[in-house]
C-alpha cells in the first residue's frame, strides 16, 4: 500500500517536472532573434525590371530569366510593374524607380509622351541607363540605351508568310492593332504589309481599337459587321487575342478562320492548344530577361563596348497547333 503510494507519488512528481521543464524550455528558448542588421553598405548594383503586364506567362518567363542572370552576376534585381496593362501605375513605377536612383532600369517599351519624358529627361537627369525589353520604344524619343527582344518586323513577316501558306494568296485579312500605335505594333504591321503588298488579291483591313475590354469587343463586332467575309485575323496586339476569338466564336465557327497572334498575350498559347488559333509567333522571353540583365550589368561595370543602338535581337519562331501540344 505504502509502496504503491510512493511509486505513484514519484511518478506524479516526474510527470510534473517533465512538463514544467518542457514548458519552461519553450518559453525561455530565445531563438527569436531579430533578423541581422545588414551592416555592410549595399555595394551591389540595383536593377529594376518594370512591365505593364505582371503575372502573365510571358512576363513571368522574362522575370525568371532576369532573376537567374542577376543572381549569377551578383546584382540585386526587383520586378515591378502594373497589372493588366495599367499605364498610369506603370509610369508611376518608372518614376519611383528613377527617384530611388536605381542603377539600371529594364522596362517594357511604350509609346507615350509621359513615358518618353520619364526616360529621356528624368532618367538622364539622374543618369540612369534604360534598356527596353520585349517591346521597343524608338531611341530618338526615349533615349533608351538599347533594346533586347524580338525583331518585330521579322515577326510580322513570318506571320504574313505563314498566312499565305495557310490561306493562299487571296482573301481578306483583318489586322487588329492598338489605336495608340505602339512602336512594336507598327513594326509588326509593317512586316506584314511588306510581304502582303506583293499579293494584290490579299486585302488588308486595319482595325484599331483602344485597349479596354469593351472597346475590343465593340471593334471586333464592328469589323465582323463591316467585313463579314473576312478570311483571316491577326491580333497584332497579343492582348486582344482572347476577346477577339471569343467574339468571333459568338457568331461563327472559329475553325474556318485563319487566326494568328503573338505569344506575349496571356491567352495566346492556351487558345493555340485548343486549336482556335492557327499560329502564334513564339519569342524567347527568358532569353530577353537574361540578356538584358547581362548587358546592363556589363555596362555598369564599364566592361562593354557601347550599346548596340539597334538592339539585341532574340530568337523568334512560328508555333503551329501541333507544336504547342
Amino acid at each position: 500500500m505504502r509502496k504503491t503510494g510512493i511509486v505513484l507519488l514519484s511518478f506524479l512528481g516526474v510527470v510534473l517536472f517533465y512538463f514544467t521543464f518542457q514548458s519552461a524550455e519553450k518559453v525561455f528558448r530565445s531563438d527569436w532573434e531579430m533578423p541581422e542588421h545588414a551592416i555592410e553598405p549595399v555595394n551591389q548594383h540595383r536593377l529594376i525590371l518594370i512591365t505593364k503586364n505582371l503575372d502573365t506567362p510571358f512576363w513571368n518567363q522574362v522575370a525568371q530569366g532576369a532573376r537567374e542572370q542577376a543572381q549569377k552576376e551578383g546584382v540585386s534585381l526587383e520586378v515591378w510593374g502594373s497589372y493588366g496593362n495599367n499605364q498610369e501605375d506603370f509610369l508611376e513605377k518608372i518614376e519611383v524607380a528613377i527617384y530611388s536612383k536605381v542603377d539600371g532600369i529594364i522596362v517594357q517599351g511604350m509609346n507615350s509622351q509621359a513615358f518618353n519624358e520619364l526616360t529621356k529627361i528624368k532618367a538622364s537627369f539622374y543618369n540612369i541607363p534604360i534598356i527596353t525589353i520585349a517591346n521597343d520604344a524608338p531611341i530618338e524619343e526615349s533615349l533608351r540605351r538599347t533594346y533586347v527582344g524580338s525583331d518585330q518586323y521579322l515577326a510580322g513577316q513570318m506571320i504574313a508568310k505563314q498566312l499565305l501558306a495557310d490561306m493562299g494568296s487571296a482573301g481578306k485579312v483583318v489586322l487588329m492593332s492598338d489605336s495608340q500605335q505602339e512602336h512594336y505594333q507598327k513594326q509588326r504591321l509593317r512586316g506584314i504589309s511588306d510581304i502582303l503588298k506583293d499579293y494584290p488579291d490579299v486585302q488588308l483591313v486595319n482595325a484599331e481599337t483602344l485597349d479596354s475590354r469593351e472597346q475590343i469587343i465593340a471593334t471586333t463586332q464592328d469589323i465582323l459587321n463591316r467585313v463579314p467575309d473576312a478570311d483571316a485575323f491577326v491580333a497584332v496586339n497579343a492582348d486582344f487575342t482572347g476577346v477577339m476569338v471569343q467574339e468571333i466564336g459568338k457568331r461563327f465557327q472559329v475553325e474556318p478562320f485563319y487566326i494568328y497572334s503573338f505569344d506575349d498575350g496571356s491567352d495566346s498559347l492556351p487558345l493555340l492548344e485548343q486549336g482556335k488559333l492557327d499560329g502564334v509567333i513564339g519569342q524567347s522571353p527568358e532569353m530577353m530577361g537574361t540578356v538584358s540583365v547581362e548587358l546592363i550589368t556589363k555596362w555598369l561595370r564599364d566592361e562593354s563596348v557601347p550599346f548596340d543602338k539597334e538592339g539585341v535581337l532574340t530568337d523568334i519562331r512560328m508555333l503551329k497547333e501541333k507544336e504547342a501540344r
Binding site: 514548458s23 519552461a24 530565445s30 527569436w32 531579430m34 533578423p35 540595383r46 536612383k101
Partner: protein, 482 residues
C-alpha cells in the same frame, strides 16, 4: 538543540528560494519580451517618422513658397533637419530582406531633399514656374515615400511574421508554464509539508502512546523514538524517568514484602509466646520448684533424678528465653541433648539415639526452638507407639554453602497429605507438644527467617520411617537488615 526550528527555517527558505527563482525568471522573461516589443515598435515608429517628416517638409516648403518669410524659412530648415534625422534613424532597420527597398527608400528621401532644395533655389531666383514644377515633383516624391513606407512595413511584417507568431505562441506557453509550475510547486510543497509535519508529529504520537502505557502502569516497555530533534531528547528523558520509576517501584514492592514478612514473623512469635504463656502457668515458680526438687533429690542420693530435673529446668528456661531471638546451632544442639535425656529417662532402653555432628558448623544461626519440635515429633511417632522402641538418627552435615540437619527415624512414617500440610504451613492439631510449638510453626519460622521457601525436605515411607532435612544457609540472606 533547535532542530525543529531549523526544520521550519529550511522549509521556509526552500519556499522562498523557489519563489525567488520564479520571480527572477519571470522578470527576466518579461524584460526580454518588453525589449523585443520595444524594438519592434521602434522600427515601425521610425518608419512612420520618415513619412510624417517628409509630409511636414512639403507643407513647410509650400508655406515658404507662398510667403517667403524668415519664420517660414526657419520652419523649413527645421523640417529638413527632421527628415535627415529620421533618415539616420532608419539606417539601422536595414536587413537582408529589405535591403533593396531600403536603398530605394534612402534614395527617395535624398531625391526629396534635392528637389526641395531646387524648388527653394528657383524661388530665390524668382523663377516661379520652375519652382512650382519642382514643388509638385517634391509632392509626388513625398507620396512615393509614404507608399514605400507602407511597402517597407509590409516587408517588415512578412520578415517578422514568424517572430510574431512565436511571441504569441510563447505567451500562450507562458500560461501553460504557469499552470504546470503551480501544480509542481503545490505538489512539492504538499510533499514537503507532509514529511515535515510527520517528522514532528510521529515522534510526538509515539511519545503520547508511551505516556499512555506508563499511565496504565506498564513501566517495563522501553520508549524508543526515532527522530533527531528535541522530541528524541524528550523521549530519552522520559525513558530515563520510566526506568527510575520502575526501579523505585520495584524497591518499594520489595520493601513492602519484607515488611509483610516481618509482620508475619512477629505475629507468629507472639502466637508462640502467648501459647507458651498459656501452657506454662507461672513458669518461674515451676522453674524454682524444679531446682529445689533437683537439690532435694541430690541430697537424698537420687542423683539420676536430680540430673533429670536439671535437664527439665534447663529446657524450661531455654523455652522461656530464647523464642524470639536467633540462636546458634550449638545452643540448639545442647537443648536437644537435654530434651533427649528427659526422653531417655522416659523410654529407657526403647530409645536409641545416634548423633553425628560436624562441630565446625555449630556457629550457624538459626531460629530458636526449631530442632526440638521436630525431634519430639519423631519420638512421638517412632518410640511411643512401638513396643520394642526405635532408632532416631540426628546428623549435621556440610553440603557446600548450606548446612544440612537431618533427623531420621524408623517409625511408622507419615501420610503424604500430612507432609503436604506441614510443608504448606497449615497449623493443624499437634500431638503432644511439650514446648507448645508444632512442626508447621517451625517450617514457617524457618522460611521467614531465611527468606526462602526451600528450607525443608521431608521423605517418608509408611511403615519404614521418616527423614526430615533442614537446609540451613551458612549465611543469612539479608543479614543486618533487621
Amino acid at each position: 538543540m533547535n532542530r525543529i526550528q531549523k526544520k521550519i527555517w529550511s522549509l521556509t527558505l526552500v519556499v522562498l528560494f523557489i519563489m525567488a527563482i520564479i520571480w527572477t525568471a519571470l522578470t527576466y522573461y518579461n524584460q526580454k519580451t518588453q525589449d523585443q516589443y520595444n524594438a519592434i515598435l521602434q522600427r515601425y515608429l521610425s518608419l512612420n517618422e520618415v513619412t510624417v517628416a517628409s509630409q511636414a517638409l512639403i507643407t513647410d516648403l509650400n508655406d515658404y513658397l507662398l510667403q517667403p518669410s524668415e519664420a517660414n524659412l526657419n520652419q523649413l530648415n527645421a523640417s529638413k533637419a527632421d527628415v535627415q534625422n529620421a533618415k539616420g534613424d532608419i539606417l539601422i532597420l536595414k536587413n537582408e530582406d529589405n535591403e533593396f527597398v531600403m536603398a530605394n527608400y534612402m534614395n527617395l528621401i535624398d531625391s526629396l531633399m534635392e528637389t526641395t532644395e531646387r524648388s527653394f533655389m528657383y524661388q530665390n531666383q524668382q523663377e516661379t514656374e520652375a519652382s512650382a514644377n519642382e514643388f509638385s515633383e517634391a509632392t509626388r516624391i513625398s507620396n512615393y515615400i509614404s507608399e514605400t513606407t507602407l511597402t517597407l512595413i509590409d516587408t517588415e511584417l512578412k520578415t517578422y511574421e514568424r517572430l510574431y507568431r512565436q511571441i504569441i505562441e510563447q505567451s500562450n506557453e507562458l500560461k501553460n508554464l504557469g499552470i504546470w509550475l503551480l501544480l509542481l510547486i503545490t505538489f512539492l510543497l504538499l510533499l514537503m509539508s507532509y514529511w515535515f509535519s510527520k517528522s514532528i508529529t510521529k515522534p510526538v504520537e509515539k511519545l503520547t502512546q508511551s505516556a499512555n502505557e506508563l499511565a496504565k502502569g506498564r513501566f517495563d516497555l522501553p520508549i524508543k523514538v526515532q527522530s533527531n530533534d528535541e522530541i528524541s531528547f524528550l523521549a530519552e528523558t522520559f525513558d530515563r524517568m520510566r526506568v527510575n520509576i520502575n526501579n523505585l517501584f520495584l524497591e518499594i514492592q520489595e520493601k513492602a514484602q519484607l515488611e509483610h514478612e516481618l509482620q508475619q514473623n512477629k505475629l507468629l512469635l507472639k502466637e508462640s509466646q502467648l501459647q507458651s504463656l498459656q501452657n506454662q502457668i507461672n513458669p518461674h515458680f515451676l522453674f524454682n520448684t524444679l531446682n529445689i526438687m533437683s537439690k532435694k533429690a541430690y541430697l537424698e542420693g537420687a542423683e539420676e533424678t536430680s540430673d533429670l530435673l536439671v535437664s527439665v529446668a534447663g529446657l524450661l528456661r531455654y523455652n522461656l528465653k530464647r523464642l524470639d531471638k536467633p540462636v546458634t546451632l550449638h545452643e540448639e544442639v545442647i537443648v536437644l541433648k537435654q530434651y533427649m535425656e528427659i526422653q531417655k529417662a522416659r523410654f529407657t532402653e526403647r530409645l536409641h539415639l545416634h548423633m553425628e555432628i560436624e562441630e565446625s558448623f555449630l556457629g550457624v544461626q538459626i531460629p530458636g526452638l526449631t530442632l526440638q519440635p521436630i525431634i519430639e515429633n519423631a519420638v512421638i511417632h517412632t518410640i511411643e507407639p512401638a513396643e520394642d522402641g526405635g532408632n532416631i538418627w540426628f546428623r549435621i552435615l556440610d553440603s557446600g554453602d548450606i548446612v544440612t540437619i537431618e533427623i531420621e527415624d524408623d517409625g511408622q512414617g507419615m501420610a503424604k497429605e500430612k507432609i503436604q500440610q506441614i510443608l504448606r504451613g497449615d497449623s493443624g492439631q499437634t500431638e503432644g507438644q511439650s514446648t507448645g510449638i508444632g512442626f508447621s510453626n517451625v517450617v514457617k519460622r524457618l522460611r521467614l527467617f531465611y527468606g526462602q521457601e526451600d528450607v525443608i525436605e521431608i521423605q517418608s515411607v509408611i511403615g519404614q520411617g521418616t527423614n526430615v532435612r533442614l537446609k540451613i544457609p551458612k549465611k543469612r540472606r539479608n543479614d543486618g537488615n533487621d
